[in-house]
Point group: C2
Chain length 307, copies 2
């Protein structure tokens, strides 16, 4: 392991990157963000994009370990970190790291691998595996489903630090596409709040939970409700959101046990998922996503460093 005491953790996604300096006592002593996500960068631009962020942070003297999770390790990213294959023990995440060079030789960079699944539904993740490892560190021995709502929601089954199975639901992207690009856009609009939105959300979630196999048909209800019952744009937006989340959750219900499902993501979105879980007779608990990604980077770091 490196002699560095302080180190830097980086969550490098498609659309942005976030970096934290972690002091010797494990506390965050500095942080910076950048919009230089993987999607905006050619391979040769990654080192400079990282350097730009590091330049805004107070780094310690001497060698500094930089531990990165997320899309920087994708094939179209900085340096491919080949997937671990589920089911697998995430404790070995660090051992699968790759190490791109930086001009500044003090910087010891590790990019963590993602996880793929070939049996039981082909699937991939990059970034979420580090959050899952962090959750396993913070809630030792937790066994059950974990839900990570977002553009592409991930559902993973954890047994301690092992990931047994996972799946991705394109719920968030579908909502955005339908709201802005489809025929339903004529019926939608306004902010996702207020009593009509709320009433629509509950109606949609109920329909999604009750009949998840009919999603393609229920979507058009949004348009019909606007034409026939004069439902307002905020009711319709709520209905669409509820319908999609209800449909997503219905597909996982048989795997949800009695423990609250940890929800990792934005607080607002996780609140909506928690509500639908409650409607389905299950429960959820909010987990701070920054906290788990930092815990995951820290745990992975131990095994990710070149000796």
């Amino acid at each position: 392991m490196s002699e560095a005491i302080a180190w830097v953790g980086v969550d490098w996604g498609t659309s942005n990157l976030r970096a934290w300096v972690i002091g010797g006592d494990g506390e965050v002593t500095g942080q910076a963000e950048s919009d230089q996500g993987m999607g905006k960068l050619a391979r040769e631009q990654f080192p400079q994009a990282l350097q730009d962020v590091l330049d805004r942070l107070a780094l310690p003297e001497g060698k500094v370990d930089i531990v990165i999770c997320g899309m920087a390790g994708a094939r179209q990213g900085w340096l491919e970190a080949p997937y671990l294959e589920a089911p697998t023990d995430l404790a070995s995440l660090g051992a699968g790291a790759v190490h791109p060079g930086m001009q500044d030789k003090r910087l010891n960079v590790s990019i963590l691998p993602g996880v793929c699944q070939r049996v039981g539904g082909e699937d991939v993740m990059r970034g979420e595996e580090t959050q899952l490892l962090g959750l396993a560190s913070l809630s030792p021995g937790y066994t059950g489903l974990v839900c990570m709502p977002g553009t592409h929601s991930k559902w993973a089954r954890l047994e301690g630090t092992r990931i047994e199975h996972f799946s991705t639901a394109m719920t968030g992207e579908m909502f955005a596409l339908l709201k802005t690009q489809s025929v339903l856009r004529h019926s939608l609009g306004g902010p996702l709040e207020g009593p009509a939105q709320d009433e629509g959300f509950v109606a949609g979630a109920r329909d999604g939970l009750d009949n998840p196999a009919a999603l393609l048909g229920q979507l058009f209800t949004v348009r019909a409700a606007s034409l026939l019952s004069g439902k307002t744009p905020d009711w319709c937006a709520g209905y669409l959101s509820g319908l999609l989340i209800g449909t997503e959750i219905a597909a996982t219900l048989s795997d949800i046990g009695t423990d609250p499902v940890p929800l990792i993501g934005s607080a607002k979105l996780c609140g909506l998922y928690m509500r639908v879980l409650n409607m389905a007779g299950a429960s959820g608990r909010l987990v701070d996503s920054t906290e788990v990604v930092l815990a995951g980077l820290k745990t992975a770091r131990v095994h990710s460093l070149r000796t």
Copy 2:
């Protein structure tokens, strides 16, 4: 009824309109198309758009009946033709027609109503009801489901000329959105034909039929299959098409009887639906969409004319 012998039938959709001159013996003696669909026209532009098409047709001397179905009767169309409400007898379609004026007083215009449904899932149709009436005229007494694949697929339960229930699946629009606007676009492309496309279609249809409640999760398989198994863009396009159609058909299977399901739409698309119906142990039969819309306009005309 008007004294006109020849008359003109018009199918006026969102994106285009088609018109046919029908002679005294019921045969089509002329036809014309235009891209002046409802979506491109302000209310006051409809008469001229119709006149432009009529000018390209050889109309008989004297009074001419023009019978129109479709979006020209929508609230945002030429003149609103209030919906009939299902369940209802489509034989009364003509009686619900509205009559906008034309400058040329020889032209006796009727716009047929659409059908709405308020109980058992709010829904609307404009245009398809005329095809259904046509089907009922050409296959007297047919009782069972009818499928009209398209951007917004309609499934209707007919009992003779009665429409008992219907639903709309946004399958075609979803395919187009996902193929061109979503993260899946990176994995898709190429024409929808060839052996790899075919293999993908069957795999997708199987997944959709087997697990329709998991659509939101299965969609991402397209991306994963491209990343992990090197599936080609045409395989992925076939998979997505099969997955969506399989999911749509699975939701209706319990209502499909032993009679072949009449399929009204483009021959290519109906062929795909027929194939998935066969995979599900059901069957379909192709129905010529122009033939049924003409039969429907003809049947409705009898009751649609101002006396």
